[in-house]
């Protein structure tokens, strides 16, 4: 076990930790989006979906604990890397090269990540926690998400969701490909395939998420 801890404390180990946990979180997004899209099927469909998850509660709890552990690793590693990198560049240049040497989304991972974290805390505190409080056959899940004061009917909330999800897209624009570069595949013969698949993760999935607050907040 010591060797593994030692590995994750090296600069390359930290990259791997960010990359592996990042990819795991991205796969979680797929299942999360699949569930969320049930909202478009109406109250009954969505409520039944949440109830079906409740019937396998022990499994869901295990998945939640694993997910929290992955998040903690990703967030703490991100904070550690950001602080160390600031220390390594104590004095900035008077002239910034801006986008002539790197893409803005690759330079702003800590900023986009921080906003996503704030969003995550708010999201869990409102939706997830409200769902947990419901007992027995009480099915007001759709009402919470769509029509409550913390739901999408509130334009401020819907807008906050949209902004956070667009930042998620920006975060993944760099994150997905960066993870494969870390694995040593970024410039390999798989580069083209990785770029194509990355569109699914940084563009299509975040847009899928955006469609929900956009529809329930501003269109419906």
């Amino acid at each position: 076990m010591t060797w593994l801890i030692q590995f994750f404390q090296t600069s390359i180990g930290k990259k791997f930790l960010m990359a592996v946990t990042g990819i795991m979180l991205v796969f979680f997004l797929i299942t999360h989006l699949a569930g969320n899209l049930m909202l478009f099927g109406g109250a009954e469909m969505f409520n039944n979906y949440v109830l079906s998850l409740r019937s396998i509660k022990p499994l869901i709890r295990i998945a939640e604990v694993v997910l929290v552990l992955i998040f903690i690793c990703h967030i703490f590693s991100g904070i550690q890397v950001t602080l160390e990198n600031r220390k390594a560049k104590p004095q900035p240049y008077r002239v910034s090269p801006g986008s002539s040497t790197s893409k803005f989304y690759s330079r702003t991972m800590a900023v986009s990540g921080s906003v996503i974290f704030i969003f995550l805390v708010f999201h869990l505190q409102t939706f997830w926690w409200s769902f947990q409080k419901k007992q027995g056959n009480d099915t007001g899940f759709y009402e919470i998400v769509v029509n409550s004061s913390v739901g999408y009917k509130n334009p401020a909330i819907a807008l906050f969701y949209i902004i956070a999800l667009l930042l998620l897209a920006i975060h993944l624009r760099h994150g997905f490909q960066s993870a494969f570069q870390t694995f040593g595949l970024g410039e390999s013969r798989y580069k083209g395939a990785i770029e194509k698949v990355s569109v699914l993760f940084w563009l299509i999935i975040p847009l899928g998420f955006v469609s929900i607050p956009l529809y329930f907040g501003f269109i419906k």
Partner: protein, 245 residues
């Protein structure tokens, strides 16, 4: 041409630095950037002032001694060019050039534009060598090396260790430098004996020196005067994992 140089002036390692502005007249577009600095320094000496210290040696773009930040770009605005190979025709009359030393905690400023890059030397000492006897020049094809690996190794070996990668990286990461050095040996038969220990020891030394962590922004690749690709960082990652497990 008339050029205004705003250069970083710092008397010694622990002194407070500041920018100072100088005007240089009659600059020819055929001059190199350093010849323009030489002209400015002559001017400063005649005025009884301290000339601007800057590192340089071959002035042919092959030794890796020079390197300054010009208007936020490592080695200036041209790609694949060292500061010494940059000519004043890349600028125009009336331009203001803001000249700064490499900035990194691992590269402390010694004086003006000169930084201490001994951290790179210590990384090389940790594993950037082969200790097998390579003998004299071998006969052709006695030690078969595929064309592909020979080319890739040669591309990596083009690194002159100037430090532009560290300077350009927002995290001051030395991964491109270490990636190039590790790749150069890992791709050749002579480098196999110490392949694993080299990757581990060079990365360990890199971390000890206080270089930052790589976040794959690729700014190093853009600014490298020898156009070393980040494919070498990917290879370093693989080599390090291979050596660690």
């Amino acid at each position: 041409m008339k050029i205004t140089v705003q250069a970083w002036r710092q008397n010694h390692r622990n002194a407070e630095g500041r920018f100072e502005s100088y005007s240089v007249d009659n600059v020819s577009e055929d001059m190199s950037f350093f010849e323009m600095l030489d002209m400015l320094n002559n001017q400063l000496i005649l005025e009884g002032k301290d000339p601007i210290s800057f590192d340089h040696d071959c002035r042919e773009g092959i030794c890796g001694t020079c390197g300054v930040m010009i208007n936020g770009r490592a080695h200036g605005p041209l790609s694949g060019t060292t500061s010494c190979q940059l000519h004043m025709r890349s600028f125009k009359d009336g331009d203001v050039l803001i000249v700064e030393p490499w900035r990194a905690a691992a590269f402390p400023v010694i004086r003006d534009l000169v930084v201490d890059r001994k951290g790179f030397d210590r990384i090389m000492e940790a594993g950037g060598y082969v200790s097998v006897s390579t003998g004299g020049v071998p006969d052709a094809n006695t030690l078969p090396v595929s064309k592909k690996n020979a080319d890739l190794s040669f591309d990596a070996a083009a690194c002159i260790g100037c430090g532009a990668c560290v300077a350009a990286c927002k995290n001051s990461s030395a991964m491109l430098f270490v990636g190039a050095k590790v790749s150069q040996y890992a791709l050749l038969p002579q480098g196999q004996v110490e392949r694993a220990s080299r990757a581990k020891n060079m990365v360990k030394q890199m971390d000890t020196e206080g270089f930052g962590n790589c976040t794959n922004t690729s700014a190093c690749e853009v600014e490298c005067p020898k156009e070393i690709s980040i494919v070498n960082i990917a290879r370093l990652n693989r080599e390090f994992v291979r050596a660690s497990f």
